[in-house]
Symmetry: C2
Subunit: 207 residues, 2 copies
């Protein structure tokens, strides 16, 4: 099954499956597509179809083995070996993200924190020490290929370019700016205000 024709939406759901499996009680060895679907608010054929894009790793009449499926999904998603992530921006949001438990669950490790402000450089955030943004250039040597961008809007493009130049090819953009970067750099953007902005429409026009 070629990776080329896996729907993007399927890729988006893979981390959801992973999370659902990780919160399974340890004594549960087998899970069915229906149970996964129920837990995530999807339907069973959707789950089976999604997983089948990457091969057949369930047992008909039985279900999917939890441990094996976790490993398969980790491999598919390319997060077997705990990717190290840089955080740029040690403001309120950045510091909150360092302590966010969710990243660990998928095996991500926040391995460096950068900030522009002299006031923040040298300060501790959890176990990490805030480094100057000028040190971003060395990320390649430190085996860090991903970053979370949590800087003020007007600093985002510049910081993103520094990351791209340092060899970072995956950026989680928490600013509400579109980043213009070389095509090989993948960007995911989170804009809490935009998500909030969608709700009133559906509150006023119940579907």
């Amino acid at each position: 099954m070629s990776r080329q024709n896996v729907p993007d939406e399927t890729i988006r759901r893979m981390p959801m499956y992973l999370r659902a499996l990780l919160v399974c009680p340890a004594e549960r060895k087998i899970v069915s597509s229906g149970e996964l679907a129920e837990h995530l608010g999807l339907n069973a054929p959707q789950v089976r179809k999604d997983l089948s894009y990457f091969g057949a790793f369930g047992t008909p009449g039985v279900g999917y083995e939890v441990g094996a499926l976790v490993e398969r999904i980790r491999t598919i998603m390319g997060i077997q070996q705990a990717p190290r992530v840089a955080l740029v921006g040690a403001g309120k949001l950045g510091r909150a993200l360092v302590f966010f438990e969710g990243f660990k669950m998928y095996g991500f490790e926040i391995a460096a924190v950068f900030d522009k402000s002299q006031r923040k450089i040298g300060r501790k955030v959890g176990k990490l020490t805030v480094e100057p943004v000028s040190a971003i250039g060395c990320l390649g040597q430190r085996d860090i290929r991903m970053a979370i961008l949590a800087v003020p809007a007007d600093a985002s493009q510049k910081a993103a370019e520094a990351l791209a130049e340092a060899g970072v090819t995956g950026i989680l953009n928490m600013t509400f700016c579109r980043l213009r970067l070389p095509a090989q750099v993948k960007v995911a953007t989170i804009d809490a205000a935009m998500e909030l902005g969608i709700l009133p429409y559906y509150m006023n026009n119940p579907g």
Copy 2:
């Protein structure tokens, strides 16, 4: 044009259009679909199609009037009169969100902060004073119909139910738990770790 057949994806993009228009320099009175598209990384027919679902408010040969379009979108989205939003959870993430500038841009006002912990109740967060979660019940009388949920995972379902009972019908869920709520309550979920989890796939399988 009935609201019933406007694509969800179009609704998702409306706040993007709004933001793009709001960051326009004030001297710019007219904007074309091509310019909007370029600014947002979309294409021009997409922009025209999206806007046309709600009527024809551009001028052929000219473009869209910025001010008028902003008002139209605000009306369509139901955010003309600055919705008041409650924040539940005054932890690191919650406190960071209070200071997040993005909400203001769309006209949202964070009007109350709640927390369970005695240690936090009474403390100031910006101009707001943290209230006990038991006070959530009065939200209806305070004209607050939306909430942001930024509590620990194990407290999310309970807090969400309290919100729903208080008449909140739109929740931005920042926890990685699925909320089981009456159908009239609309939920948008943001899971930063999940977004981060998607990136390595595309880094390893460039599209």
